[in-house]
């Protein structure tokens, strides 16, 4: 797949990517490598200039989480989480129930009536994730969702995300520029090089089933992170040549 904008900007030269059900794939790369564009093309928000995005078995339900929480300030947490169901014409009672469960799952039980301005950055992101989960997606696309959060909040959300991924059997495509985050979360890291974007390396990680606080401190994690880091450095060098 390739994407060139009308302005002539070539965002993605060649992105050849096959993702299996249940994988957690991170797209890592320096800014300008077309990671975000790739997600938007996959979501169907942008049309590819060349190539196709194919889903065997039809287009699945897709959830999208942006870098910013992107909440409606005039709606409370429940109203925001309910949005996808509301737009799909699900009855109000059912939508409320499902949105409420989604909020519980991201640890926001009791905050249904809180407005975005009353919530911290991390909690807003949790509402955003609940909104993506509310419609019961098979594929979750996340565009640097935790980039603006502090380290502790970020780690807590990483752990929660892994839990949701395991419980729901989701397929996740996760854009980040953090080596550690991608190493910690993914079963596979795709490193992209910039201007125009293309796949530089595709690294399958050997991950323990249970990843937690301790895993971050192990030599094993360090080795895996070093592999990703090295590939990213080479991708940047290649891009600057």
């Amino acid at each position: 797949m390739a994407k060139r904008f009308e302005s002539g900007l070539e965002a993605i030269r060649r992105l050849d990517l096959e993702v299996a059900d249940g994988e957690f794939v991170s797209l890592v790369g320096p800014s300008g490598c077309g990671k975000s564009t790739a997600l938007r093309v996959i979501a169907g928000l942008l049309a590819p200039s060349e190539g196709t995005v194919a889903f065997p078995g039809g287009r699945p339900e897709i959830g999208f989480v942006f870098q910013e929480p992107t909440l409606m300030p005039w709606a409370d947490a429940l109203g925001n989480a309910r949005l996808p169901l509301e737009l799909k014409g699900v009855s109000r009672a059912e939508a409320e129930g499902r949105a409420k469960r989604a909020l519980e799952r991201v640890g926001l039980a009791g905050f249904e009536e809180a407005y975005p301005r009353e919530l911290s950055g991390g909690m807003k992101m949790r509402v955003s994730i609940a909104r993506a989960l509310a419609a019961g997606p098979k594929l979750l696309l996340m565009d640097e969702p935790f980039a603006a959060l502090d380290e502790l909040t970020r780690q807590a959300l990483n752990d929660d995300l892994l839990k949701l991924w395991r419980e729901d059997g989701l397929t996740v495509l996760f854009v980040t520029h953090s080596v550690f985050e991608s190493t910690y979360l993914s079963t596979r890291v795709v490193v992209m090089s910039p201007r125009p974007g293309r796949v530089f390396d595709d690294i399958a990680l050997t991950q323990p089933a249970q990843r937690d606080e301790h895993y971050r401190m192990t030599a094993e994690f360090g080795r895996e992170a070093a592999r990703v880091s090295k590939a990213l450095r080479e991708a940047i060098e290649e891009g600057s040549e």
């Binding site: 938007r40 979501a43 169907g44 928000l45 897709i62 999208f64 942006f66 910013e68 992107t70 409606m72 300030p73 005039w74 709606a75 949005l83 996808p84 509301e86 737009l87 799909k88 407005y115 975005p116 301005r117 419609a135």
Partner: protein, 261 residues
Amino acid sequence: MSRTLRILIPIALGILVLALWEAAVDYYQVQPFVLPAPSAVWIAFIGNFASLMTSLWTTLSITLAAFALAVIGGVALAVLFSQSKPVENALYPYAVVLQVTPVVAIAPLIIIWVGFERINVALLIIAWIVAFFPILSNTTLGLRSADHNLIDLFRLYGASRWQILTKLQLPTALPYLLGAMKVSGGLALIGAVVAEFVAGSGTATGLAWRIVEAGNRLQIAKMFAALGLLSALGIAIFFALSWLEWALLHKWHESAVRKAG
């Protein structure tokens, strides 16, 4: 405590100024056709109470009708603009022309066209022209200001244009609209007053005309009474709209949050 003071201090200052004014007029024996004492203004107000209230009602009803039509028309046209770029490109320049042409200059023309026998309709149109543009331009801006990622999200879930308009663009535009309404409410009053001045003798019966009439007869105290009513009307409109803004926004909007804090 500080809240009470914030209300009491301006009131105390007002009373002080009125007292000094009264004393000065009395002490220097100022002629009432130059500057009447506050007490004389009060007597004129009570003495002309019925006619002043009738005039207040005339001006108020023209102002409110012009304002309501400006809000309805401005929002409707802004929604139309947001749905069709060609319509916006075609009509917006004319809306600007209407706005930048001084209303005093077009007022006589409108009055002639509509006719003196329907003077209130003419006054309404003039006040509407003045009040209309801020609503149109701010609402247009507000409808365009919807978060792009949210628009993408709506599209991802297959939202229709109607859903995007009602669930995303209109709520986004609400603070812009309410801000414009505060400006526009005052402008509708100004428009009504200017129109009455232009309409002139024997036709208009609003507060502005009472001012002209009283001025011509050197009834300066009555002039002050009408002027005071006009200010009170403007203040009432402003506070009513500020309250509306607070009522609709205080739960979620940053501006209202800061005001409350």
